[in-house]
C-alpha cells in the first residue's frame, strides 16, 4: 500500500518525482441536459450532475446494471495509477454560478429503466465494482431519476446485500414521487437498515404505490470522496486535503469520478468549474 513518507516526499511526487505522476483534471458543467435546460433544482434536495452537459462530457442514461469506470462517458477520465501504486486526491478548486454543496464521488455501479408505476419488486442487480467485500462499508444507495416520474407521493425501499455480505437487507422506506421528489436528475439516498454501514450490491427496489407516471429511474451505488461547500455565488472554494482532518482520499483503479449538487435555491446552475489534483504513491 502506498503512502507519503513525509511532506518532502509529497512535494517531490507532486512535482513529478518518484513516480508521483501528478494529475489535475478539470471539469466544466453546463446547466443543460441534452438540448434543453436541466430540470429546476429543489432547495435542500440533491441533484445528480451525471447527465449535465460539459467537459469531459455528460454521462448517458444507463439501462441494465453495469460498473462505470474512468473510461465511461460522464466520468472525470483521470488516468489509473501505475506500478502497483495508489492514486490520492489531494484536493481541488471548485466554483459554481449558484451557491450549494458539491459532492465528488466514485460511481461504483448504476442501472436505469425502472418504472414509477410498477409496485412489485423491480430487478436491479447492481454490484459495486470497487470497495468490495469489507471495504463496502461506506458505500451508499441512491435512487436516480432520469426521466420525470409521477406526482403521486409514495415510498421506495431497496433489497440489498450489506457490507458484511448479508443478503436481503431492506432500506428504510424513503419518500419518492410528489413535487421535489420526482424530477429528472433528482437524487434520493436510501437509508440502510439499522446496524448496516455499507452495501455490496442492490438486488431489487419496490415502490409502495404508483407515482402515476412511469418515467425512468434507476439505482446508483456511490462512494463519497469529497464534499465541498460553495456558499457564495461566483466564489470558488479550495479544499486542500493536506491541511484538513479528512486527509487524502484514494482514487481507486478505474474510479468513475462524478458529481452531485445539493441546491440552496431553485435556479439551475449555469456554470460549474472544478479542478481535482491527484498524485500517486
Amino acid at each position: 500500500m502506498g503512502a507519503f513518507a513525509s511532506l518532502s516526499d509529497l512535494v517531490n511526487r507532486a512535482t513529478g518525482g518518484n513516480d508521483g505522476a501528478p494529475e489535475t483534471r478539470w471539469k466544466f458543467i453546463d446547466g443543460r441536459v441534452g438540448a434543453a435546460v436541466a430540470a429546476t433544482p429543489t432547495t435542500g434536495r440533491w441533484t445528480s450532475l451525471w447527465q449535465y452537459n460539459g467537459q469531459p462530457s455528460h454521462g448517458d442514461v444507463p439501462t441494465t446494471a453495469s460498473s462505470p469506470t474512468n473510461a465511461t462517458a460522464g466520468s472525470l477520465k483521470q488516468t489509473d495509477p501505475g506500478g502497483g501504486r495508489q492514486k490520492w486526491l489531494l484536493g481541488g478548486s471548485f466554483a459554481a454560478s449558484h451557491p450549494g454543496t458539491l459532492l465528488v464521488y466514485d460511481r461504483l455501479a448504476h442501472m436505469g429503466g425502472l418504472s414509477g408505476t410498477v409496485t412489485t419488486a423491480q430487478t436491479v442487480n447492481a454490484t459495486a465494482a470497487r470497495y468490495t467485500g469489507a471495504e463496502a462499508a461506506g458505500n451508499e444507495i441512491w435512487v436516480e431519476v432520469y426521466t420525470q416520474i409521477g406526482a403521486s407521493a409514495t415510498t421506495i425501499t431497496a433489497s440489498y446485500t450489506n457490507q458484511a455480505g448479508t443478503a436481503a437487507k431492506v432500506t428504510l422506506a424513503t419518500a419518492i414521487g410528489a413535487s421535489g421528489l420526482n424530477q429528472a436528475q433528482r437524487w434520493l439516498q436510501l437509508p440502510l437498515a439499522s446496524g448496516d454501514t455499507g452495501v455490496r450490491s442492490v438486488e431489487t427496489v419496490t415502490l409502495a404505490g404508483t407515482t402515476g407516471t412511469a418515467g425512468n429511474f434507476g439505482v446508483t451505488i456511490v462512494r463519497p470522496l469529497l464534499q465541498v461547500a460553495l456558499p457564495t455565488l461566483g466564489l470558488a472554494a479550495v479544499r486542500s486535503l493536506l491541511t484538513e482532518v479528512q486527509g487524502f482520499a484514494e482514487i481507486k483503479v478505474g474510479a468513475c469520478i462524478a458529481f452531485a449538487w445539493l441546491a440552496t435555491g431553485t435556479t439551475t446552475p449555469y456554470l460549474m468549474y472544478h479542478s481535482l489534483t491527484m498524485v500517486e504513491a
Binding site: 512535494v11 511526487r13 443543460r32 469531459p56 489531494l90 478548486s93 479550495v238 456554470l271 468549474y273
Partner: protein, 267 residues
C-alpha cells in the same frame, strides 16, 4: 525536473525564477457566475480580437508575456476589487469575426493550428469569446474535432442575451458524449439570430489554476500552489500564451484595481 523536497521548494519560492505582474482596466459589464475574459482588458496594451484563426504567441498583447524556461507556477497574489474567481490558462488557438446574426454554419478555420504543447487535444477546452456585444439570447452548437480525431457536434449551449451576450464573455463549450478534449472547433451554428452581429470567436485553452478571491476592501490575497492549491504546481510549457479570466459574485460587479503577481519557480 521534480522539486526534491520541502526545503528545496522553499528555497525556490524565496528566489523565484521569474515574477510577472499583470494589471487590467476596470470594467463592470459582468455576469455573476459567468467568466469574463481579461484578454482585451489587459494593460498597458490590451489584446484585440484576433481575426483569422491563429495560435497566439507568448508575448502577444493580452498575454502575461512570461519568458520561457522549465518552470512551474508557484504563487498567485493580488486582487480585482470584487469577490470572485480568477483563472489563469494557456491560450492555445483563437479566432474572431463570427456574427451573431448569421444562421448558417460559420467556419473558424482552426483545424491544424493546435500547437505541439497541447498534444492531441486531450484536456483542451473550448469557449466562445465575445469581442463586441451580440444581441438577444439563443442557443449555439459547435462542430469540432475531438482529441480522438472524430468529427462531433456539441450539445446546444446558451448564447447571447443580457447575461451571455456582452463583451468579454467567455463561455465554455460542452462536448458530445464520451469526449474529453478538442483538437479544433471547426464551425459554429446559431439556432436563431441574436439580432446584433457583434463579433465573437472561439478560443481553445487549457486551464492552469483557479483561485477564489474573497474581497474585503480590495485587500490582496496570496496563494501558494503547494500549500493553498492542493499541491497543484502546474508546469508552464515553453511558448505558453498565459491569459486570465475572472468570474464575479454578482451581476455588474465592478472589476477594478485588477492587479496580480504571478511567481514561477524553476523546474
Amino acid at each position: 525536473m521534480a522539486v526534491s523536497d520541502w526545503s528545496s521548494y522553499q528555497a525556490k519560492v524565496r528566489i523565484p525564477f521569474q515574477r510577472v505582474t499583470a494589471y487590467a482596466q476596470q470594467f463592470s459589464d459582468t455576469t455573476a457566475g459567468v467568466w469574463s475574459s481579461l484578454w482585451t482588458k489587459m494593460l498597458p496594451t490590451p489584446g484585440v480580437a484576433p481575426g483569422a484563426a491563429v495560435s497566439p504567441a507568448r508575448t502577444l498583447a493580452g498575454a502575461l508575456g512570461q519568458r520561457n524556461g522549465n518552470q512551474r507556477l508557484t504563487r498567485i497574489s493580488g486582487g480585482m476589487g470584487t469577490t470572485g474567481v480568477l483563472m489563469i490558462y494557456d491560450r492555445l488557438v483563437h479566432c474572431s469575426g463570427l456574427s451573431g446574426t448569421v444562421l448558417t454554419a460559420q467556419n473558424t478555420s482552426m483545424s491544424g493550428l493546435l500547437p505541439s504543447r497541447a498534444g492531441s487535444g486531450a484536456d483542451v477546452l473550448a469557449a466562445l469569446e465575445i469581442y463586441t456585444a451580440i444581441g438577444s439570447g439563443t442557443t449555439v452548437t459547435c462542430g469540432y474535432t475531438s482529441s480522438a480525431g472524430a468529427n462531433q457536434t456539441s450539445p446546444a449551449m446558451e448564447f447571447g442575451g443580457s447575461q451571455k451576450g456582452s463583451i468579454a464573455k467567455f463561455l465554455p463549450i460542452p462536448l458530445a458524449s464520451g469526449d474529453a478534449g478538442v483538437q479544433s472547433v471547426n464551425s459554429v451554428l446559431l439556432a436563431t439570430t441574436t439580432g446584433t452581429a457583434g463579433n465573437f470567436g472561439v478560443t481553445l485553452y487549457k486551464p492552469l489554476a483557479m483561485v477564489p478571491l474573497l474581497c474585503w476592501g480590495n485587500e490582496p490575497r496570496v496563494f501558494d500552489s503547494m500549500l493553498d492549491l492542493c499541491c497543484h504546481v502546474p508546469l508552464v510549457p515553453n511558448d505558453a500564451c498565459l491569459a486570465l479570466c475572472a468570474m464575479p459574485y454578482q451581476h455588474n460587479a465592478m472589476f477594478n484595481d485588477i492587479l496580480f503577481d504571478f511567481e514561477f519557480i524553476e523546474d
